[in-house]
Amino acid sequence: MLVTAGGVAGMMVAREYAKRPGELKSLLSAIQMLETEIMYTATPMAEAMERVSTGADQRVAGFFRDAALDLRSTAGRTAGEAWETAMERFYPRCSLSRGDMSILGNLGRALGRSDREDQAKHLRLASEQIRMEIIKSEEEAAKNTKMWNYLGFCGALAAVIILY
């Protein structure tokens, strides 16, 4: 029984590692959607975020919806602030790392504050960084998934041997 429990625990940890690349990919596609809205249709920020939230993968849609709602309220909030607050709510619910969040944070601080050309630079930089993170996270995931799968099982086995 101990062995099964250890194995399951190991697999759960391994699954957490496997989640991150998926979330990063949906984030990347959402940011590319945002870029299209900003660059080609010059959609106002709140509306652009709303559109992204309806089109994006459900793992990140909530983040954009939160930011859009916050920006639409007439509480005198800027896109950067709305983005930041949405990030705070998003972080505990997602599998992204602190590093990933800081990429998002940097993008948020620049959002909506400059002309199209400049916005494009920031959006592309963020996309590029996320792409790098995807590659890294996939390698890591492959390594860690295997490791945790074994570790859970073997650890439990070791415990059994020591106990008896």
Binding site: I38, A42, A48, G76, T78, G80, L111, G112, R113, R116
Partner: protein
């Protein structure tokens, strides 16, 4: 004339739209201003590192942190750099990139048709202004919808025999209520005014800067009459010709004619037998005639009424009306 009460009500409707684009601390200061002053505000001036000011009909005032009047600069609330930046973000809905054209022109029109003027550092591209950055000055001009402000004008411009209006040019220096009077005149022409023997006319309005109709997402938010079609955000010259072809208007209205292409388009409209009503910047006929594009318009001699507005007591006051003949006795030289 206009009753004071109607005036105040018209403005009350405006304040929420204006306050929504101000940072919270500026909002708090302005809501602290006494109502009898608030109802006379024409402009809010926000300049980085300088006092927060309100432009009233009688001049400008500085405000203290609590919204009271500051009698010296020492007591005045000084606007921070960060506040100007934040205000600009709120004005644009954090979408500076969506307003490149507007910023190049130096102003943005916000919900409600209020015009926001901007200054800062101009960024040039091959000698032309590409955009503005480091914004330092913001002037929010509160647009007034004063129902009845064109009442004194209407009897002078109605063509009773034709059942329509004469070709009319409204001119005045800035801040005399040209746009306000034009908007009300459009409303009356469009709805019809039996008291002047004027049936309702289909009006085509080219609202290049969204100031007259206050369109938001293309739909007029101000009362411009039931038979008015608006081309929002469209360049005047192009817009007038488009309306002429597409909407079959009896009257075409537009704001601030001045460039040669505007006058050429106007000529086309005049030749098509459609009546026009438009505004021009300028304080005297003499001054207008000195501008080449407008001089050409005087040469055409097709405009029947030249209306000068002033602001002796109140913006929108008709100071003089000239016709095809009397303009030559009043300073127009060709």
């Amino acid at each position: 004339m206009i009753s004071n009460k109607a005036d105040v009500i018209a403005q009350d409707k405006n304040w929420p739209e204006v306050l929504a684009v101000l940072p919270l601390n500026l909002r708090k200061i302005i809501t602290g201003v006494r109502p009898e002053i608030l109802c006379r505000v024409e402009e809010i001036r926000i300049r980085a590192l300088r006092p927060l000011m309100l432009g009233l009909d009688s001049g400008d005032i500085m405000l203290t942190e609590g919204g009271g009047l500051a009698d010296s600069i020492l007591k005045a609330y000084i606007v921070g750099e960060e506040e100007v930046e934040r205000c600009l973000q709120l004005i644009s809905g954090s979408s500076i990139y969506a307003l490149e054209e507007e910023i190049r022109n130096g102003f943005i029109t916000i919900l409600g048709g209020h015009r926001v003027g901007l200054t800062g550092k101009a960024v040039l591209d091959q000698g032309k202004v590409k955009t503005i950055k480091y914004f330092s000055g913001i002037n929010i001009r509160i647009s007034r919808e004063i129902t009845g402000s064109a009442r004194s004008l209407m009897p002078r411009i109605v063509d009773r025999e034709g059942g329509t209006i004469h070709h009319t040019m409204i001119f005045s220096p800035p801040r005399c209520g040209k746009t306000t009077v034009l908007r009300d005149a459009i409303r009356i022409i469009s709805d019809g005014a039996p008291e002047y023997g004027l049936p309702g006319q289909a009006v085509g309005l080219v609202d290049e800067r969204s100031e007259i109709a206050g369109c938001y997402r293309g739909i007029p938010r101000r009362n411009i009459g039931i038979r008015t079609d608006v081309l929002d955000g469209c360049p005047k010259a192009e817009g007038m010709v488009m309306l002429l072809r597409s909407m079959g208007p009896s009257v075409i209205a537009t704001d601030e004619i001045g460039r040669a292409e505007d006058v050429r388009a106007l000529e086309e409209v005049l030749n098509a037998g459609v009546r026009v009503i438009f505004t021009v910047h300028g304080s005297s006929l003499e001054e207008l005639a000195a501008r080449p594009a407008l001089n050409y318009l005087f040469r055409l001699n097709m405009i029947d009424r030249y209306v000068l507005l002033g602001r002796d007591l109140k913006a929108g006051l008709v100071k003089g009306v000239f016709d095809r003949k009397s303009i030559f006795e009043n300073g127009v030289a060709l």
